[in-house]
Symmetry: C2
Amino acid sequence: MKRPTIADIAREAGVSKGAVSYALNGQPGVSDTTRRRILDIAAAWEFRANSAARALAGAASHVVGLTLHRPPKTLGIEPFFMELISGLEAELSIHDYALLLHMVPDHAAEVAVYQRWWADRSVDGVLVCDLRIGDGRVAALAELGLPAVVIGPPSASGSLASIWSDDEISLVEAVEYLAALGHRRIARIGGIPDLVHTSIRTDAFSRVCREVPLDSAVTIPTDYTGESGAAATRRILSRPDRPSALIYDNDIMAVAGLAVAQEMGLSVPGDLSIVAWDDSPICRLVHPPLTALTRDIGAYGTHAARLLLAAIGGELALDSAAVSVHDEPARLVPRGSTAPPVTAA
Amino acid sequence: MKRPTIADIAREAGVSKGAVSYALNGQPGVSDTTRRRILDIAAAWEFRANSAARALAGAASHVVGLTLHRPPKTLGIEPFFMELISGLEAELSIHDYALLLHMVPDHAAEVAVYQRWWADRSVDGVLVCDLRIGDGRVAALAELGLPAVVIGPPSASGSLASIWSDDEISLVEAVEYLAALGHRRIARIGGIPDLVHTSIRTDAFSRVCREVPLDSAVTIPTDYTGESGAAATRRILSRPDRPSALIYDNDIMAVAGLAVAQEMGLSVPGDLSIVAWDDSPICRLVHPPLTALTRDIGAYGTHAARLLLAAIGGELALDSAAVSVHDEPARLVPRGSTAPPVTAA
DNA sequence: CTGAAAGCGCTTACAG
DNA sequence: CTGAAAGCGCTTACAG
């Protein structure tokens, strides 16, 4: 049998198409008993509105857009994104929303995609990741008026709603833990410098290291790949005053760093303690297992989706200050890769 | 300024809307000079057809669907999927196709999504992954008539087009290499048993081991997670007649297995050789770097997209035998984790 | 080869 | 509270 339309339901219920539409969308304009009858028929027939017709008539498309940067050259971000997408989808499915994915080479192309999506009304809103310093996407989105949620710090999200976890808190926790173990020379193998969250971590690192205080605290920038993490590790461990502990901005670099240390004949955690940011299964698979800053990325995605849905629904007061949700910060999970330094200063 | 419609173009060109539609879609019904003029105006105005209107009117949606199983509990499959999606998108973007992603809990839900997508015409075709033995999706898709491409062996793809790389060839290459090094007791830490490609590998493994021949050749099933790979490794290495070489069905389990071996005081590759199937960056980051079966997953995705687009375009003769494309098989890249066994039999 | 028209399935003012 | 109608922007028979 053919798929039912609102015309079929209207006929069955003995009302007009308009009444069916109002009933289905929870709009006023139909009596409660009529609404009930219409809803029952729709449920019995497993009615689902044709999305193209709905979009054409100017209603919501029930699709949310996400752009990803190609190529995802760093494995490090991949587990993060898959978990994020999984969490996003969990929430979106509940509300009958679909996720439209599009790979883009750069920010300019990304903005062009946003414009087209919005002109088409093929999406109701978008999610923005990996904010850079001076990122043009925020302003472009605000001007378009496309509902959007930034997955990143509110400091760089302009008038857009944002969700983020406070990296500063997590970084402080890691440094204070290492300091409590007796470490006085800590280095950080950082992420891509012009990512906003990297710069937040870098600032927090230098501040907390001044406060503790430590004897030395440097950040070495990388491009997040295992290779660059390995190279940075090699460089810093070759110094005469090499650090006794390293904090890595992602798990892949931490794994690579562990291999470098072992290669150089250093024992972990005896000669060197290692902390990884983000905690995919690999952190538990290597030997010793890595102390890591863990967070529930799936939940992060779910919350982001919830926020975007609220923005789409107009539940976020757009005229007032931008809404910003703070998710749980990553918390330290000590494992075998951290211990007091063997030779105290 | 508002987005141009075909009515605007028709007015500008002095023709009817129908003529514009024919010209834009490369249909006959307009003279070449008229077509040229229409196309020029469309290009100058950067015209893009409203996708909802196009879908409503019964044309192609220019969207391709992909369902993923939630939760992606195994990190092992995540890098694979991100690379696959990246490759898919590369080809889809060229043809102005978008990718609609949807997480599903199981195959029944997946089939329901297909039905809805197709009834809606919200997708023009779908990609199917991870075929199971007795998988109901193939028959459901064939019955629906939804254009689809299976990423998997043609033996289980029924009447659907399929693309796959021959796992048997790769497995034989790995076993013969290990045998040439002098190994006579090889075990395989396999994937999920009821996945079709796992069973192909398992069959190939027992066949080639009989042919070489080896003294012992067992496959231990796992669920693809690092944990189960570690457990399987621990079990098999505890046997009195433990193997001198292990082949893992994914890279995550291989990394986990390496850690287990080291934990148990075995040196790699001295006491134990390790081969990983699939070759994400982690294989090169551990110590020693892992010998792996490498393939270009991005290209695999690109080819799959190309095949699906052909299926959508009706270029695949549907009445004749199902089309099956063989992509390059994974090839062995020897690294530090494989060597002749120290104690020859 | 071209034009005028119906129709896809919705939503939403507009009258009753 | 309800019904009849226009319109969203396309595609596609159907006449000329």
